[in-house]
Amino acid sequence: MGFLLDSGADTIPRWPLAGLRIYGGLVFCGASLAELMGRQAWPVPPNAALDPPAVLVLELLVGVALVLGAVSRAAALIGVALMAGRLIAAGLKPADLVSPGPNTAITILLLTVMLGRAGRVWGVDRLLAARWPRNPLW
């Protein structure tokens, strides 16, 4: 039985995480550009206000960093904070944590990118990791 408890120790190919990372980045870019042009992009309560421009610019930066795979863990962490703010503003219930909706799905995607250091495959973080392999930001 004991081996079940440390069965997570071996390794997996990292490239599928790059697909998740790039899709998450594209969504952040697309949603922030849509909202900068005055269109609500995320599922929000009816007649909710658009996010302030500073948040939208931060969202765009997170998106670009995720697509490029540059400082991707820090970008994903900021993205999780943005999504957490959005979920809490919409009235977070325990059931939302396993909801199949876009807000929760994108949050889990960002957490997976962060845990798996997805920027280190097909991303700028591969170069950063070669120079500073132990830095937790990538």
Partner: protein
């Protein structure tokens, strides 16, 4: 900077298997949540709802997929709707338990691809379906059930079966 300090990260680097556990558990729970409104007291009306929902989505559907929906899915909704509900329950349970995870993940990804094609784009806006497809591929490629799942036992006993 001396050459000795340079480390080369391989083009196809690897990550620890436990990184996929959160994704696997979330996908399993989300499939069960999605199936919850198709079973129980909704079991009888669900085929009718599915046909109606497909009709409401047809204007947005990806063009090459529209013919398949109208010619195959809607006429056979009486069989396909319960089949979809059962598949979602099975995929959700298997992913939560980490049982035959690779098969469950790829079936889940194919199911979600159908929903994605039915609902159509723009795919760049926040959308859960691509997350489920890409996440299913990641769970399948990484055999995520081998970390803290029943597949750890199955892989030990039958290491050559690609289903886990």
């Amino acid at each position: 900077m001396s050459v000795e300090s340079e480390r080369i990260v391989p083009l196809f680097s690897r990550a620890p298997r436990w990184t996929l556990v959160l994704l696997r558990l979330y996908l399993g729970a989300a499939f069960l949540r999605a199936a919850a409104n198709k079973i129980g007291e909704n079991w009888r009306p669900w085929p009718g709802w599915m046909a109606g929902f497909i009709h409401s989505q047809l204007p947005h559907t990806v063009p090459f997929y529209r013919g398949f929906l109208t010619a195959v899915v809607v006429p056979h909704a009486g069989f396909l709707a319960p089949a979809v509900a059962c598949a979602e329950v099975a995929v959700g349970c298997c992913l939560l338990l980490g049982l035959a995870t690779r098969g469950a993940a790829i079936i889940g990804a194919v199911l979600t691809l159908n929903y994605l094609l039915m609902k159509g784009g723009p795919f760049i806006l926040p959308n859960n379906d691509p997350v489920f497809i890409l996440g299913g591929i990641a769970v399948c490629v990484g055999a995520a059930g081998r970390a803290y799942g029943l597949d750890a036992f199955l892989h030990r006993r039958f290491p050559r079966v690609p289903l886990w």
